[in-house]
């Protein structure tokens, strides 16, 4: 096979949704951790020289929770308020690459219509050619956010002490991009 695919990040990349996830974890009941993900995510990745840009959008209603009462609470204004602010959005402002695929991404995360700066760290790997010769890039990022800055303040004191739901939410994305033909 004539492996002539360029080995740089230069160009635009499309999300392979099947191999990508966006999830979060939050402490609840003081000691337990609740994790879930969003079923529908979209993201873009583009490199122009050293200038790398990453964007992402997740409809809050695609959260992977089916139980109607639980889901209804999360969709309500006490949490994501999907009637007024359906999407969670991210846009990078700076992508800094380090050694061994390390990457630090600064950007703006919009949740419930409120935009706040966020810093995520992780890895940016590739490109590597898959079995069909198509270049792929992997982006794995994690960020801690305080949910209260997005007006996601629901809580309740537990009978035996402590708060029902933690303030810190750990966001994690595992994204796989494929090179777009020029």
């Amino acid at each position: 096979m004539s492996a002539t695919a360029p080995s740089t990040l230069e160009g635009t990349w499309a999300l392979d949704k099947l191999h990508s996830t966006a999830s979060f974890a939050v402490k609840h009941m003081v000691v337990s951790t609740f994790r879930t993900s969003f079923k529908d995510i979209d993201a873009t990745f583009a490199a122009d020289g050293d200038d790398i840009a990453l964007t992402g959008t997740v409809p809050a209603e695609s959260i992977d929770i089916d139980q109607p009462d639980f889901r209804g609470h999360l969709m309500s204004a006490e949490f994501f308020d999907v009637a007024n602010t359906p999407n969670i959005e991210f846009r990078s402002t700076s992508v800094k690459r380090g050694a061994d695929d390390a990457v630090e991404v600064e950007g703006e995360l919009t949740v419930k219509g409120i935009t706040q700066p966020v810093t995520a760290t992780g890895t940016l790997s590739g490109p590597v050619a898959d079995v069909t010769g198509t270049d792929r890039v992997g982006v794995e990022l994690e960020a801690d956010v305080d949910r209260s800055i997005y007006d996601l303040n629901w809580n309740a004191p537990l009978p035996k002490g402590g708060e029902a739901l933690g303030k810190k939410v750990v966001l994690a994305v595992h994204l796989e991009f494929v090179r777009q033909e020029a």
Binding site: F34, Q67, D69, A156, L158, P159, A164
Partner: protein
């Protein structure tokens, strides 16, 4: 030894009734759990009818079931952060007459399941509070079973070993309280 299980849910496929059935499978040898099935028939509490003659057979059945049990295990759902009305109503009937009600001195423990993230933890606390006010010997433990719709297999067994262990420890604590009561008696 006999434990009376009372589910605070009337629903046919109640997670809390399933939780009591799961508890029944985890009891030590020589201990049986009777599931009380008369909650729906209990009328709204009315002090005018609060006499042995007027309280009716459903209330009598509840009081008899509690009386012949060595301990009571209540599994409660949570409605609006609190106790389901039917359960509170039954406990109100059982609390009468105050001085020598059937729950007075009776070892009692509370568990609970909900479909959300918190396993009826607030309702459990309120049931313990109410049982304490009535005079029961309340085991000071909670067992919140969260996302209850996903916790049981098709045979009604709990999926998670951790949860089975916690439930076994919970009922063991109740059995121990009832056993020490029997020794003392």
């Amino acid at each position: 030894m006999r434990i009376l299980g009372i589910s605070g849910s009337l629903r046919k496929d109640s997670h809390n009734t399933a939780l009591l059935r799961a508890a029944a499978e985890l009891l030590p040898p020589g201990v049986e759990l009777e599931l009380f099935d008369g909650l729906k028939a209990i009328p709204p509490y009315n002090a005018d009818e609060d006499t042995p003659e007027l309280q009716g057979p459903a209330v009598q059945a509840l009081k008899d079931a509690i009386e012949r049990a060595d301990a009571v295990l209540i599994s409660t759902p949570e409605y609006n952060h609190s106790i389901p009305g039917v359960l509170k109503n039954a406990l109100d009937w059982a609390s009468r007459p105050v001085a020598d009600n059937v729950l007075r001195g009776k070892p009692a423990a509370v568990i609970g399941a909900s479909t959300g993230l918190f396993g009826a933890v607030w309702a459990q606390a309120e049931v313990r509070k109410v049982l304490g006010a009535i005079g029961a010997e309340v085991v000071d433990r909670e067992l919140p079973v969260m996302q209850a719709h996903a916790q049981f297999d098709e045979y009604g067994n709990l999926h998670e070993e951790d949860l089975r262990v916690q439930l076994a420890e919970h009922v063991a604590a109740l059995v121990e309280a009832a056993a020490s009561k029997k020794v003392a008696a």
